[in-house]
Protein backbone atom coordinates (compact mmCIF):
# COMPACT_ATOMS: atom_id res chain seq x y z
CA UNK A 1 0.00 0.00 0.00
CA UNK A 2 1.30 3.40 -0.89
CA UNK A 3 1.06 4.78 2.56
CA UNK A 4 3.03 7.62 3.94
CA UNK A 5 2.21 9.05 7.26
CA UNK A 6 3.42 10.89 10.24
CA UNK A 7 2.17 11.45 13.68
CA UNK A 8 3.91 11.28 17.01
CA UNK A 9 7.17 10.51 15.26
CA UNK A 10 8.17 14.17 15.29
CA UNK A 11 10.43 14.23 12.27
CA UNK A 12 12.24 17.37 11.22
CA UNK A 13 9.63 18.83 8.82
CA UNK A 14 7.07 18.16 11.50
CA UNK A 15 8.81 20.22 14.06
CA UNK A 16 8.57 23.18 11.72
CA UNK A 17 4.88 22.56 11.16
CA UNK A 18 4.23 22.53 14.87
CA UNK A 19 6.10 25.73 15.44
CA UNK A 20 3.94 27.42 12.87
CA UNK A 21 0.86 26.11 14.64
CA UNK A 22 1.78 27.57 17.98
CA UNK A 23 2.88 30.94 16.72
CA UNK A 24 -0.08 31.53 14.46
CA UNK A 25 -2.77 30.09 16.70
CA UNK A 26 -4.72 33.27 17.20
CA UNK A 27 -4.94 34.36 13.60
CA UNK A 28 -5.22 31.60 11.03
CA UNK A 29 -6.45 28.44 12.76
CA UNK A 30 -9.86 27.47 11.47
CA UNK A 31 -12.44 25.52 13.42
CA UNK A 32 -14.95 25.16 10.61
CA UNK A 33 -17.90 23.64 12.40
CA UNK A 34 -15.66 21.04 14.02
CA UNK A 35 -15.58 18.35 11.36
CA UNK A 36 -15.29 14.94 12.97
CA UNK A 37 -13.51 12.16 11.10
CA UNK A 38 -12.72 8.52 11.78
CA UNK A 39 -9.68 6.54 10.55
CA UNK A 40 -9.96 5.82 6.84
CA UNK A 41 -12.27 8.78 6.17
CA UNK A 42 -11.33 10.92 3.18
CA UNK A 43 -10.64 14.47 4.33
CA UNK A 44 -10.01 15.93 0.89
CA UNK A 45 -9.23 14.82 -2.62
CA UNK A 46 -7.72 18.21 -3.36
CA UNK A 47 -4.00 17.75 -4.05
CA UNK A 48 -3.16 21.23 -2.85
CA UNK A 49 -2.92 20.36 0.82
CA UNK A 50 -0.12 18.97 2.94
CA UNK A 51 -0.61 16.19 5.44
CA UNK A 52 -0.14 16.96 9.14
CA UNK A 53 -0.51 14.84 12.26
CA UNK A 54 -3.18 12.16 12.20
CA UNK A 55 -3.46 11.95 8.42
CA UNK A 56 -1.96 9.95 5.57
CA UNK A 57 -2.06 10.01 1.80
CA UNK A 58 -3.40 7.10 -0.19
CA UNK A 59 -4.11 7.15 -3.92
CA UNK A 60 -3.58 10.91 -3.95
CA UNK A 61 -6.30 11.51 -1.37
CA UNK A 62 -5.79 12.80 2.15
CA UNK A 63 -7.20 10.39 4.73
CA UNK A 64 -7.56 10.49 8.52
CA UNK A 65 -5.63 7.97 10.59
CA UNK A 66 -7.14 8.82 13.97
CA UNK A 67 -10.61 9.72 15.19
CA UNK A 68 -10.85 13.40 15.96
CA UNK A 69 -11.39 16.88 14.67
CA UNK A 70 -10.00 18.22 11.38
CA UNK A 71 -7.80 21.27 11.80
CA UNK A 72 -6.30 23.36 9.04
CA UNK A 73 -3.42 25.76 9.33
CA UNK A 74 -2.70 27.38 5.98
CA UNK A 75 -2.15 24.41 3.65
CA UNK A 76 -1.49 21.84 6.34
CA UNK A 77 -4.36 19.61 7.35
CA UNK A 78 -4.17 17.59 10.52
CA UNK A 79 -6.56 15.61 12.70
CA UNK A 80 -6.53 16.29 16.40
CA UNK A 81 -7.46 13.11 18.28
CA UNK A 82 -9.74 13.52 21.29
CA UNK A 83 -7.74 10.99 23.24
CA UNK A 84 -4.13 9.98 22.93
CA UNK A 85 -0.97 9.62 24.92
CA UNK A 86 0.81 12.88 25.49
CA UNK A 87 2.57 14.14 22.37
CA UNK A 88 5.09 16.70 23.49
CA UNK A 89 6.12 19.96 21.89
CA UNK A 90 9.16 22.03 22.68
CA UNK A 91 8.35 24.55 25.39
CA UNK A 92 5.56 22.50 26.99
CA UNK A 93 5.32 22.54 30.76
CA UNK A 94 5.03 19.01 32.13
CA UNK A 95 4.70 17.35 35.50
CA UNK A 96 6.60 14.08 35.70
CA UNK A 97 7.61 11.36 38.11
CA UNK A 98 11.19 10.11 38.37
CA UNK A 99 11.20 6.43 37.44
CA UNK A 100 14.87 5.62 37.35
CA UNK A 101 18.18 7.22 38.19
CA UNK A 102 20.57 6.42 35.38
CA UNK A 103 24.02 7.48 34.31
CA UNK A 104 23.97 11.25 34.22
CA UNK A 105 20.28 11.29 33.53
CA UNK A 106 16.93 10.53 35.09
CA UNK A 107 14.15 8.66 33.36
CA UNK A 108 10.85 10.44 33.90
CA UNK A 109 7.31 9.18 33.47
CA UNK A 110 5.34 11.87 31.64
CA UNK A 111 2.42 9.81 30.29
CA UNK A 112 3.98 10.03 26.84
CA UNK A 113 4.71 7.12 24.56
CA UNK A 114 8.30 6.68 25.74
CA UNK A 115 9.86 7.63 29.06
CA UNK A 116 11.27 11.12 29.00
CA UNK A 117 14.84 11.98 29.83
CA UNK A 118 16.14 14.60 32.24
CA UNK A 119 19.88 15.02 31.75
CA UNK A 120 22.09 15.91 34.68
CA UNK A 121 23.25 18.87 32.62
CA UNK A 122 19.65 20.10 32.36
CA UNK A 123 19.06 20.65 36.06
CA UNK A 124 20.11 23.39 38.40
CA UNK A 125 21.83 21.71 41.31
CA UNK A 126 21.05 22.93 44.84
CA UNK A 127 22.83 26.11 45.71
CA UNK A 128 24.19 26.45 42.20
CA UNK A 129 26.88 23.79 42.76
CA UNK A 130 28.63 22.75 39.58
CA UNK A 131 27.94 19.20 38.51
CA UNK A 132 30.51 16.58 39.34
CA UNK A 133 31.91 14.03 36.96
CA UNK A 134 32.85 11.12 39.15
CA UNK A 135 31.81 7.58 39.95
CA UNK A 136 29.72 8.85 42.84
CA UNK A 137 27.60 10.85 40.43
CA UNK A 138 24.70 8.46 40.63
CA UNK A 139 24.63 8.53 44.40
CA UNK A 140 24.72 12.29 44.45
CA UNK A 141 22.06 12.41 41.79
CA UNK A 142 19.68 10.47 44.00
CA UNK A 143 20.02 13.21 46.60
CA UNK A 144 18.83 15.73 44.05
CA UNK A 145 15.98 13.66 42.64
CA UNK A 146 15.13 10.14 43.76
CA UNK A 147 12.76 7.55 42.33
CA UNK A 148 9.17 8.57 42.93
CA UNK A 149 9.86 12.28 43.19
CA UNK A 150 7.54 14.57 41.29
CA UNK A 151 8.96 17.37 39.22
CA UNK A 152 7.75 20.15 37.02
CA UNK A 153 9.83 20.68 33.93
CA UNK A 154 9.85 22.04 30.43
CA UNK A 155 10.30 20.09 27.20
CA UNK A 156 13.69 21.14 25.90
CA UNK A 157 14.08 18.94 22.85
CA UNK A 158 12.51 16.00 21.06
CA UNK A 159 14.84 13.23 19.92
CA UNK A 160 14.64 12.82 16.17
CA UNK A 161 14.89 9.05 15.93
CA UNK A 162 12.13 7.95 18.30
CA UNK A 163 10.36 10.99 19.69
CA UNK A 164 11.70 10.75 23.25
CA UNK A 165 11.24 14.00 25.15
CA UNK A 166 14.23 15.65 26.74
CA UNK A 167 13.32 17.85 29.71
CA UNK A 168 15.03 20.61 31.61
CA UNK A 169 14.45 22.27 34.97
CA UNK A 170 16.88 25.16 34.57
CA UNK A 171 14.58 27.79 35.93
CA UNK A 172 13.51 28.61 39.44
CA UNK A 173 9.90 27.68 38.76
CA UNK A 174 10.77 24.14 37.69
CA UNK A 175 12.15 21.33 39.78
CA UNK A 176 11.03 19.07 42.59
CA UNK A 177 7.47 19.52 43.81
CA UNK A 178 6.88 19.66 47.54
CA UNK A 179 4.08 18.22 49.67
CA UNK A 180 0.83 18.05 47.79
CA UNK A 181 -1.43 15.88 45.71
CA UNK A 182 -0.82 14.30 42.38
CA UNK A 183 -3.55 13.64 39.81
CA UNK A 184 -3.55 11.99 36.44
CA UNK A 185 -6.01 13.03 33.72
CA UNK A 186 -6.05 12.40 29.96
CA UNK A 187 -3.48 14.72 28.38
CA UNK A 188 -5.97 16.25 25.92
CA UNK A 189 -7.79 17.86 28.83
CA UNK A 190 -4.92 20.25 29.51
CA UNK A 191 -4.59 22.80 26.77
CA UNK A 192 -1.40 24.63 25.93
CA UNK A 193 -1.58 28.09 27.41
CA UNK A 194 0.71 30.89 28.45
CA UNK A 195 0.70 29.88 32.07
CA UNK A 196 0.57 26.44 33.61
CA UNK A 197 1.45 27.51 37.15
CA UNK A 198 -1.58 28.94 38.87
CA UNK A 199 -2.26 30.23 42.31
CA UNK A 200 -6.04 30.03 42.48
CA UNK A 201 -8.09 32.75 44.22
CA UNK A 202 -8.52 30.36 47.16
CA UNK A 203 -4.74 30.35 47.63
CA UNK A 204 -4.15 26.80 46.44
CA UNK A 205 -1.33 26.29 43.93
CA UNK A 206 -1.85 24.10 40.88
CA UNK A 207 0.61 23.00 38.23
CA UNK A 208 -1.26 21.82 35.15
CA UNK A 209 1.19 19.73 33.16
CA UNK A 210 0.54 19.66 29.42
CA UNK A 211 0.96 15.91 29.72
CA UNK A 212 -2.13 15.52 31.89
CA UNK A 213 -0.26 15.18 35.18
CA UNK A 214 -1.43 17.70 37.73
CA UNK A 215 0.04 18.75 41.04
CA UNK A 216 -1.93 20.51 43.74
CA UNK A 217 0.02 22.17 46.51
CA UNK A 218 -0.56 24.44 49.47
CA UNK A 219 1.49 27.20 47.89
CA UNK A 220 3.78 27.78 44.94
CA UNK A 221 7.41 27.12 45.76
CA UNK A 222 9.72 30.04 45.33
CA UNK A 223 13.00 28.29 44.79
CA UNK A 224 12.68 24.61 43.97
CA UNK A 225 16.39 23.91 44.00
CA UNK A 226 16.61 24.11 47.77
CA UNK A 227 16.06 20.71 49.32
CA UNK A 228 13.47 21.33 51.94
CA UNK A 229 12.48 19.63 55.12
CA UNK A 230 8.96 18.47 54.45
CA UNK A 231 8.21 17.83 58.08
CA UNK A 232 8.50 21.50 58.89
CA UNK A 233 5.91 22.29 56.34
CA UNK A 234 2.64 22.72 58.18
CA UNK A 235 -0.55 22.90 56.20
CA UNK A 236 -3.57 24.22 58.02
CA UNK A 237 -6.87 22.36 58.05
CA UNK A 238 -8.48 25.15 56.11
CA UNK A 239 -5.89 24.90 53.34
CA UNK A 240 -6.23 21.14 53.29
CA UNK A 241 -9.99 21.45 52.76
CA UNK A 242 -9.46 23.92 49.96
CA UNK A 243 -6.96 21.59 48.33
CA UNK A 244 -9.44 18.72 48.58
CA UNK A 245 -12.05 20.93 46.94
CA UNK A 246 -9.69 21.79 44.10
CA UNK A 247 -8.86 18.11 43.67
CA UNK A 248 -12.51 17.13 43.52
CA UNK A 249 -13.26 19.99 41.13
CA UNK A 250 -10.53 18.79 38.78
CA UNK A 251 -11.65 15.17 39.03
CA UNK A 252 -15.24 16.25 38.30
CA UNK A 253 -14.04 18.08 35.18
CA UNK A 254 -12.02 15.04 34.13
CA UNK A 255 -15.01 12.81 34.77
CA UNK A 256 -17.08 14.88 32.36
CA UNK A 257 -14.13 15.14 29.97
CA UNK A 258 -14.05 18.92 30.14
CA UNK A 259 -11.00 21.01 29.40
CA UNK A 260 -9.02 21.78 32.56
CA UNK A 261 -7.61 25.29 32.89
CA UNK A 262 -7.77 28.04 35.50
CA UNK A 263 -11.21 29.34 34.49
CA UNK A 264 -12.95 25.93 34.48
CA UNK A 265 -11.34 25.02 37.80
CA UNK A 266 -12.45 28.29 39.38
CA UNK A 267 -15.99 27.91 37.96
CA UNK A 268 -16.31 24.41 39.36
CA UNK A 269 -14.72 25.39 42.66
CA UNK A 270 -17.08 28.34 43.12
CA UNK A 271 -20.17 26.42 42.02
CA UNK A 272 -19.47 23.75 44.62
CA UNK A 273 -19.54 26.26 47.47
CA UNK A 274 -22.88 24.96 48.76
CA UNK A 275 -21.50 21.43 49.07
CA UNK A 276 -19.06 19.84 51.45
CA UNK A 277 -15.85 18.67 49.78
CA UNK A 278 -16.78 15.01 50.01
CA UNK A 279 -20.26 15.61 48.59
CA UNK A 280 -18.60 16.61 45.33
CA UNK A 281 -17.83 12.94 44.70
CA UNK A 282 -21.47 12.06 44.03
CA UNK A 283 -22.42 11.65 40.37
CA UNK A 284 -25.39 14.07 40.65
CA UNK A 285 -23.16 16.69 42.23
CA UNK A 286 -20.59 16.34 39.44
CA UNK A 287 -23.22 17.20 36.85
CA UNK A 288 -24.34 20.38 38.61
CA UNK A 289 -20.99 21.79 39.66
CA UNK A 290 -19.45 21.35 36.21
CA UNK A 291 -22.40 22.83 34.34
CA UNK A 292 -20.89 26.30 33.93
CA UNK A 293 -17.57 24.80 32.77
CA UNK A 294 -19.50 22.65 30.31
CA UNK A 295 -21.25 25.67 28.83
CA UNK A 296 -17.92 27.46 28.56
CA UNK A 297 -16.28 24.52 26.80
CA UNK A 298 -19.14 24.20 24.34
CA UNK A 299 -19.09 27.95 23.57
CA UNK A 300 -22.52 28.49 25.05
CA UNK A 301 -21.47 31.00 27.63
Amino acid sequence: MDTTADDAGATAPDATTTTTTTTTTTTIVERPGMRIVCPGDVITEDQGYMRGHGTFIHDGRLLASVAGVVERVNKVISVRPVRTRYVGEIGDVVVGRIMQVGQRRWLVDTQSRLSSVLKLSSVNLPGGVLRRKSASDELTMRQVLAEGDLISAEVQAIFQEDGTLSLHTRSLRYGRLGPGMFMRVPSVLVRRSKNHFHTLPCGVAVVLGNNGYIWIGASMEEDTTQAREHDQHIITEETRRRMARVRNAISALAHRMLSIFDTTIIFTYDDSAHLEEKEMLHPEAIATITQRAYLLCTDQL
Binding site: E147, P179, R245
Partner: protein, 304 residues
Protein backbone atom coordinates in the same frame (compact mmCIF):
# COMPACT_ATOMS: atom_id res chain seq x y z
CA UNK B 1 0.03 -15.39 55.68
CA UNK B 2 0.12 -15.84 51.95
CA UNK B 3 -2.05 -12.78 51.45
CA UNK B 4 0.14 -10.69 53.68
CA UNK B 5 3.23 -11.51 51.67
CA UNK B 6 1.63 -10.92 48.33
CA UNK B 7 0.06 -7.66 49.34
CA UNK B 8 3.34 -6.39 50.71
CA UNK B 9 5.00 -7.58 47.55
CA UNK B 10 2.42 -5.78 45.50
CA UNK B 11 3.44 -2.49 46.98
CA UNK B 12 7.06 -3.23 46.31
CA UNK B 13 6.13 -4.11 42.77
CA UNK B 14 4.38 -0.84 42.30
CA UNK B 15 7.29 1.11 43.62
CA UNK B 16 9.65 -0.71 41.31
CA UNK B 17 7.57 0.41 38.40
CA UNK B 18 7.97 3.99 39.48
CA UNK B 19 4.34 4.52 40.33
CA UNK B 20 4.89 5.03 44.00
CA UNK B 21 4.34 8.26 45.81
CA UNK B 22 7.26 10.50 46.63
CA UNK B 23 8.26 11.20 50.20
CA UNK B 24 6.47 14.53 50.02
CA UNK B 25 3.22 12.95 48.84
CA UNK B 26 3.36 10.26 51.53
CA UNK B 27 3.90 12.93 54.12
CA UNK B 28 0.95 14.87 52.81
CA UNK B 29 -1.36 11.84 52.89
CA UNK B 30 -0.21 10.79 56.36
CA UNK B 31 -0.69 14.31 57.74
CA UNK B 32 -4.12 14.44 56.14
CA UNK B 33 -5.12 11.18 57.82
CA UNK B 34 -3.84 12.52 61.13
CA UNK B 35 -5.89 15.70 60.64
CA UNK B 36 -9.01 13.74 59.63
CA UNK B 37 -9.12 15.39 56.18
CA UNK B 38 -8.31 13.04 53.36
CA UNK B 39 -7.20 13.90 49.81
CA UNK B 40 -10.76 14.00 48.53
CA UNK B 41 -12.13 15.79 51.57
CA UNK B 42 -13.59 12.73 53.24
CA UNK B 43 -13.41 12.05 56.96
CA UNK B 44 -11.55 8.94 58.04
CA UNK B 45 -14.57 6.67 58.01
CA UNK B 46 -16.45 8.10 55.02
CA UNK B 47 -16.99 5.95 51.98
CA UNK B 48 -17.13 6.89 48.35
CA UNK B 49 -20.36 6.42 46.42
CA UNK B 50 -20.35 3.01 44.81
CA UNK B 51 -22.24 1.83 41.78
CA UNK B 52 -23.73 -1.62 41.67
CA UNK B 53 -25.73 -3.40 39.02
CA UNK B 54 -26.92 -6.98 38.92
CA UNK B 55 -28.08 -9.43 36.31
CA UNK B 56 -25.86 -8.14 33.50
CA UNK B 57 -24.46 -11.55 32.50
CA UNK B 58 -27.46 -13.26 31.00
CA UNK B 59 -26.02 -16.76 30.71
CA UNK B 60 -25.07 -16.90 34.38
CA UNK B 61 -27.50 -17.77 37.18
CA UNK B 62 -26.56 -14.59 38.96
CA UNK B 63 -24.20 -11.72 38.30
CA UNK B 64 -23.15 -8.32 39.55
CA UNK B 65 -20.80 -5.48 38.75
CA UNK B 66 -19.36 -3.08 41.29
CA UNK B 67 -17.69 0.15 40.22
CA UNK B 68 -15.86 2.44 42.58
CA UNK B 69 -14.18 5.35 40.80
CA UNK B 70 -11.64 3.36 38.84
CA UNK B 71 -12.11 -0.02 40.44
CA UNK B 72 -14.33 -2.35 38.49
CA UNK B 73 -15.29 -5.87 39.55
CA UNK B 74 -17.55 -8.30 37.71
CA UNK B 75 -18.98 -11.47 39.26
CA UNK B 76 -20.80 -14.30 37.55
CA UNK B 77 -22.39 -17.18 39.45
CA UNK B 78 -23.07 -20.49 37.73
CA UNK B 79 -25.08 -23.22 39.35
CA UNK B 80 -24.43 -26.76 38.17
CA UNK B 81 -25.41 -30.25 39.21
CA UNK B 82 -22.42 -32.11 40.62
CA UNK B 83 -21.70 -35.37 42.36
CA UNK B 84 -21.08 -34.83 46.08
CA UNK B 85 -17.84 -35.88 47.74
CA UNK B 86 -17.82 -39.17 49.62
CA UNK B 87 -17.26 -37.59 53.02
CA UNK B 88 -20.11 -35.10 52.60
CA UNK B 89 -22.74 -36.89 50.54
CA UNK B 90 -25.56 -34.53 51.48
CA UNK B 91 -23.84 -31.16 51.11
CA UNK B 92 -23.78 -28.89 48.14
CA UNK B 93 -20.66 -27.05 47.08
CA UNK B 94 -19.71 -23.40 47.02
CA UNK B 95 -16.57 -22.57 45.09
CA UNK B 96 -14.83 -19.28 44.51
CA UNK B 97 -12.43 -18.37 41.78
CA UNK B 98 -11.02 -14.88 41.46
CA UNK B 99 -8.97 -13.62 38.56
CA UNK B 100 -7.54 -10.31 37.54
CA UNK B 101 -7.83 -9.27 33.92
CA UNK B 102 -4.53 -8.75 32.15
CA UNK B 103 -5.50 -5.16 31.36
CA UNK B 104 -5.88 -4.43 35.05
CA UNK B 105 -2.45 -5.83 35.65
CA UNK B 106 -0.78 -3.57 33.12
CA UNK B 107 -2.69 -0.45 34.07
CA UNK B 108 -2.06 -0.91 37.79
CA UNK B 109 1.55 -2.03 37.17
CA UNK B 110 0.95 -5.46 38.64
CA UNK B 111 2.87 -8.35 37.17
CA UNK B 112 1.00 -11.50 36.28
CA UNK B 113 2.47 -13.63 39.04
CA UNK B 114 1.81 -11.14 41.80
CA UNK B 115 -1.73 -10.65 40.52
CA UNK B 116 -2.16 -14.40 40.47
CA UNK B 117 -0.95 -14.82 44.04
CA UNK B 118 -3.12 -11.97 45.19
CA UNK B 119 -6.23 -13.47 43.67
CA UNK B 120 -5.38 -16.89 45.17
CA UNK B 121 -5.30 -15.36 48.62
CA UNK B 122 -8.61 -13.60 48.02
CA UNK B 123 -10.12 -16.96 47.01
CA UNK B 124 -8.81 -18.38 50.24
CA UNK B 125 -10.47 -15.56 52.18
CA UNK B 126 -13.76 -16.16 50.41
CA UNK B 127 -13.70 -19.85 51.32
CA UNK B 128 -12.87 -18.96 54.92
CA UNK B 129 -15.86 -16.63 55.02
CA UNK B 130 -18.24 -19.46 54.19
CA UNK B 131 -16.46 -21.91 56.52
CA UNK B 132 -16.52 -19.63 59.54
CA UNK B 133 -19.89 -17.99 59.06
CA UNK B 134 -21.89 -21.05 57.91
CA UNK B 135 -24.11 -18.48 56.26
CA UNK B 136 -25.21 -20.72 53.46
CA UNK B 137 -26.58 -24.03 54.61
CA UNK B 138 -24.87 -26.34 52.16
CA UNK B 139 -27.26 -29.14 53.09
CA UNK B 140 -30.02 -27.11 51.45
CA UNK B 141 -28.12 -27.37 48.18
CA UNK B 142 -28.43 -31.13 48.19
CA UNK B 143 -30.71 -32.62 45.55
CA UNK B 144 -30.35 -36.34 46.09
CA UNK B 145 -27.99 -37.43 48.88
CA UNK B 146 -24.94 -39.23 47.58
CA UNK B 147 -26.02 -38.74 43.98
CA UNK B 148 -26.47 -35.11 43.09
CA UNK B 149 -25.98 -31.72 44.70
CA UNK B 150 -25.90 -28.15 43.46
CA UNK B 151 -22.49 -26.69 42.96
CA UNK B 152 -22.53 -22.91 43.19
CA UNK B 153 -19.49 -21.53 41.41
CA UNK B 154 -18.69 -17.88 42.00
CA UNK B 155 -16.28 -16.42 39.46
CA UNK B 156 -14.87 -12.97 40.13
CA UNK B 157 -13.15 -10.89 37.51
CA UNK B 158 -11.25 -7.76 38.54
CA UNK B 159 -11.37 -5.55 35.45
CA UNK B 160 -9.76 -2.42 36.92
CA UNK B 161 -8.25 -1.59 40.29
CA UNK B 162 -6.98 1.98 40.03
CA UNK B 163 -9.71 3.26 42.33
CA UNK B 164 -8.23 1.25 45.20
CA UNK B 165 -10.10 -0.82 47.74
CA UNK B 166 -10.29 -3.91 45.51
CA UNK B 167 -10.82 -6.33 48.39
CA UNK B 168 -13.99 -4.67 49.58
CA UNK B 169 -15.36 -4.34 46.04
CA UNK B 170 -14.72 -8.02 45.38
CA UNK B 171 -16.65 -9.15 48.43
CA UNK B 172 -19.51 -6.71 47.95
CA UNK B 173 -19.80 -7.92 44.36
CA UNK B 174 -19.77 -11.55 45.49
CA UNK B 175 -22.55 -10.86 47.95
CA UNK B 176 -24.63 -8.97 45.42
CA UNK B 177 -24.18 -11.73 42.84
CA UNK B 178 -25.21 -14.39 45.35
CA UNK B 179 -28.33 -12.33 46.10
CA UNK B 180 -29.05 -12.20 42.39
CA UNK B 181 -28.55 -15.95 41.96
CA UNK B 182 -31.48 -18.27 41.44
CA UNK B 183 -31.46 -22.04 41.42
CA UNK B 184 -33.93 -24.05 39.31
CA UNK B 185 -36.48 -25.94 41.36
CA UNK B 186 -36.26 -29.72 41.44
CA UNK B 187 -38.89 -32.39 41.73
CA UNK B 188 -37.85 -35.74 43.12
CA UNK B 189 -39.02 -38.85 41.33
CA UNK B 190 -39.90 -41.57 43.76
CA UNK B 191 -40.13 -45.30 43.27
CA UNK B 192 -42.93 -47.52 44.55
CA UNK B 193 -41.42 -47.58 48.07
CA UNK B 194 -41.48 -43.82 48.31
CA UNK B 195 -37.69 -43.64 48.00
CA UNK B 196 -36.34 -40.81 45.90
CA UNK B 197 -34.41 -42.35 43.04
CA UNK B 198 -34.15 -39.61 40.49
CA UNK B 199 -34.88 -35.93 40.06
CA UNK B 200 -36.24 -33.62 37.47
CA UNK B 201 -34.89 -30.07 37.07
CA UNK B 202 -37.45 -27.53 36.06
CA UNK B 203 -36.65 -25.96 32.72
CA UNK B 204 -39.03 -23.07 33.34
CA UNK B 205 -36.91 -19.96 33.79
CA UNK B 206 -39.38 -18.62 36.37
CA UNK B 207 -39.59 -21.81 38.42
CA UNK B 208 -36.56 -20.92 40.50
CA UNK B 209 -35.65 -20.12 44.10
CA UNK B 210 -33.01 -17.90 45.66
CA UNK B 211 -30.16 -19.40 47.64
CA UNK B 212 -31.24 -19.83 51.24
CA UNK B 213 -29.40 -17.92 53.90
CA UNK B 214 -27.74 -15.60 51.44
CA UNK B 215 -28.79 -12.50 53.37
CA UNK B 216 -26.50 -13.60 56.20
CA UNK B 217 -23.53 -14.09 53.88
CA UNK B 218 -20.76 -11.84 55.18
CA UNK B 219 -18.69 -9.26 53.37
CA UNK B 220 -15.13 -8.22 54.05
CA UNK B 221 -14.50 -4.59 54.84
CA UNK B 222 -11.00 -3.27 54.38
CA UNK B 223 -9.49 -0.58 56.58
CA UNK B 224 -6.18 1.14 56.13
CA UNK B 225 -4.03 2.16 59.06
CA UNK B 226 -1.55 4.99 59.19
CA UNK B 227 -0.03 5.63 62.61
CA UNK B 228 -2.85 5.07 65.07
CA UNK B 229 -5.58 6.15 62.64
CA UNK B 230 -8.02 3.79 61.00
CA UNK B 231 -9.58 4.85 57.73
CA UNK B 232 -12.24 3.26 55.55
CA UNK B 233 -12.41 2.78 51.79
CA UNK B 234 -8.79 3.62 50.94
CA UNK B 235 -7.88 5.37 47.72
CA UNK B 236 -5.20 3.83 45.54
CA UNK B 237 -2.65 6.38 46.68
CA UNK B 238 -3.61 5.90 50.32
CA UNK B 239 -3.09 2.16 49.92
CA UNK B 240 0.43 2.88 48.80
CA UNK B 241 1.15 4.84 51.95
CA UNK B 242 -0.63 2.70 54.51
CA UNK B 243 1.33 1.07 57.34
CA UNK B 244 -1.10 -1.84 57.48
CA UNK B 245 -4.56 -3.04 56.55
CA UNK B 246 -7.18 -4.76 58.62
CA UNK B 247 -9.67 -6.95 56.82
CA UNK B 248 -12.81 -7.66 58.77
CA UNK B 249 -15.34 -10.24 57.65
CA UNK B 250 -18.67 -9.21 59.04
CA UNK B 251 -22.24 -10.28 58.37
CA UNK B 252 -25.32 -8.10 57.97
CA UNK B 253 -26.22 -8.57 61.62
CA UNK B 254 -22.79 -7.38 62.70
CA UNK B 255 -21.28 -10.75 63.56
CA UNK B 256 -17.54 -10.81 63.01
CA UNK B 257 -16.41 -13.99 61.31
CA UNK B 258 -12.93 -13.22 60.11
CA UNK B 259 -10.20 -10.72 60.75
CA UNK B 260 -6.86 -10.43 59.13
CA UNK B 261 -4.16 -7.89 59.55
CA UNK B 262 -1.85 -7.26 56.66
CA UNK B 263 1.31 -5.36 57.42
CA UNK B 264 2.68 -3.23 54.65
CA UNK B 265 5.60 -1.80 56.52
CA UNK B 266 4.96 -1.23 60.17
CA UNK B 267 3.34 -2.96 63.12
CA UNK B 268 0.07 -1.76 64.54
CA UNK B 269 -1.08 -0.96 68.04
CA UNK B 270 -3.56 -3.60 69.33
CA UNK B 271 -6.21 -1.02 70.16
CA UNK B 272 -6.16 0.21 66.58
CA UNK B 273 -7.18 -3.20 65.33
CA UNK B 274 -9.99 -3.37 67.83
CA UNK B 275 -11.12 0.03 66.62
CA UNK B 276 -11.15 -1.26 63.05
CA UNK B 277 -13.22 -4.29 64.01
CA UNK B 278 -15.71 -2.16 65.92
CA UNK B 279 -15.97 0.26 63.02
CA UNK B 280 -16.62 -2.59 60.63
CA UNK B 281 -19.48 -3.85 62.78
CA UNK B 282 -21.08 -0.43 62.80
CA UNK B 283 -20.44 0.31 59.15
CA UNK B 284 -21.62 -2.93 57.62
CA UNK B 285 -25.30 -2.09 57.83
CA UNK B 286 -24.88 1.18 55.97
CA UNK B 287 -22.69 -0.40 53.35
CA UNK B 288 -25.17 -3.15 52.65
CA UNK B 289 -28.06 -0.71 52.57
CA UNK B 290 -26.22 1.34 49.97
CA UNK B 291 -25.77 -1.70 47.80
CA UNK B 292 -29.31 -2.94 48.34
CA UNK B 293 -28.06 -6.22 49.76
CA UNK B 294 -30.10 -6.15 52.93
CA UNK B 295 -32.29 -8.83 54.32
CA UNK B 296 -35.54 -7.06 53.57
CA UNK B 297 -34.88 -6.01 50.01
CA UNK B 298 -34.05 -9.50 48.92
CA UNK B 299 -37.22 -10.84 50.50
CA UNK B 300 -39.23 -8.32 48.56
CA UNK B 301 -37.45 -9.03 45.33
CA UNK B 302 -38.05 -12.74 45.52
CA UNK B 303 -41.39 -12.61 47.20
CA UNK B 304 -43.12 -11.51 44.02
Amino acid sequence: MNFRQTLAKRYKQISNKGKMASKAERQFIANGIAANIRCDGRDLLDRRPLELETGNITNANGSSRVQLMGTDVLVGVKVEVATPTDDRPDEGMLEFSISSSSANATVAALDARTADKMTRSLEFLAEQLQKTSHALDLKKLCILPGKAVWCVRVDVLVLQSLGGNVVECVFLAIKAALHDTTIPNCTLIKDSNGEAVDFDISSNAYDVSPIEGVAEFPVILCFGIIGARVFADPLFEEEECADAFVLVGVSASGAVCLTQQVCAGRGVDPTTIIEAVDTARQAVKGVLEDTGCTHTSICNADGQ
